[in-house]
């Protein structure tokens, strides 16, 4: 197991213990699977090109317009 994988598993173990304390052993496996999926999704998001052009630079209306 590479050092990266080892580190990853170490941190997942901490999350798993959190899940176990919060929801008990029966649901921990499902929650841990979910967390792994989230981590993978986040990692994919971070390596995807973020296309700033698909939205206007600022989609926040000026505060005056929002209040109006």
């Amino acid at each position: 197991m590479s050092s990266h994988q080892s580190s990853r598993e170490h941190w997942f173990a901490i999350l798993e213990s959190s899940a176990r304390l919060r929801y008990g052993p029966e649901r921990t496996t499902a929650i841990t699977d979910e967390l792994r999926g989230m981590a993978d999704a986040l990692a994919r998001l971070l390596v995807e090109p973020l296309d700033f052009a698909d939205e206007p630079p600022f989609d926040l209306l000026p505060e005056r317009q929002v209040r109006a």
């Binding site: 901490i14 989230m38 926040l60």
Partner: protein, 216 residues
């Protein structure tokens, strides 16, 4: 579309979802597995009195998980300097070291007092913190079918990170974080989605600043 796990019913109108599959409710009838996971992520409970937190765990895992080979991919339309810095983040943080001072960076990403991070107030560090925190918050607010919102939120976080270019001051940092939080508050307000779980705080901006230790 980026997804994780089985696709479930979308709570968003007008947003496409592939292969929608109903998810059975938990025995309580109200809590889904996804919201359980987000609950664990957002928990402040620290097992065994340790010094870490679920937030930091996930941030670290994500940081480790980002493939170095992907670092060569440019971020479309971002400035060359921003790309360079984010690529430094993507490569440099695998070793856990700050590219400027070689200090172990992972423990500093979350929870450390802001004033102790003067050297680490680099754009790439902020980008990771903001992206991870906002993504967690987006997941809490919108549930697991939140990819469009989450991706949009990450783009906002990147924009906020670009505001930090060349700046190291706490004031600028706060300004950028507030900017990201306001954008997200507005996005949530305008969204047609019904949040699957209520946000723990009415203000994402305030929560973001609290979570990053910048609410002082």
């Amino acid at each position: 579309m980026l997804t994780y796990g089985p696709t479930r019913r979308s709570s968003c109108s007008g947003r496409s979802q592939s292969n929608p599959t109903p998810v059975s409710p938990s025995p309580s009838g109200t809590i889904t597995r996804a919201s359980d996971a987000w609950s664990v992520m957002s928990s402040r409970h620290i097992p065994h009195g340790g010094t870490t937190s679920p937030h930091r765990c996930m941030a670290t895992i994500v940081s480790i998980s980002v493939s170095p080979s992907a670092a060569a991919r440019p971020i479309a339309t971002a400035s060359a300097e921003t790309n360079r810095r984010l690529q430094m983040h993507r490569t440099g943080h695998h070793s856990g070291s700050c590219p400027q001072c070689t200090t172990d960076l992972l423990p500093a990403l979350f929870g450390a007092p802001s004033d102790d991070l003067a050297c680490h107030r680099s754009e790439q560090t902020i980008a990771l913190r903001v992206m991870t925190l906002l993504s967690v918050r987006a997941g809490q607010s919108f549930g697991r079918d939140s990819e469009p919102q989450r991706k949009g939120t990450l783009q906002h976080a990147c924009r906020a990170a670009t505001m930090l270019r060349g700046a190291r001051s706490s004031l600028t940092h706060r300004k950028a974080l507030r900017h990201a939080g306001r954008l997200w508050d507005e996005r949530a307000r305008r969204s047609s989605c019904t949040p699957l779980t209520a946000p723990p705080s009415p203000s994402h901006t305030r929560a973001l600043l609290q979570w990053t230790g910048d609410d002082r």
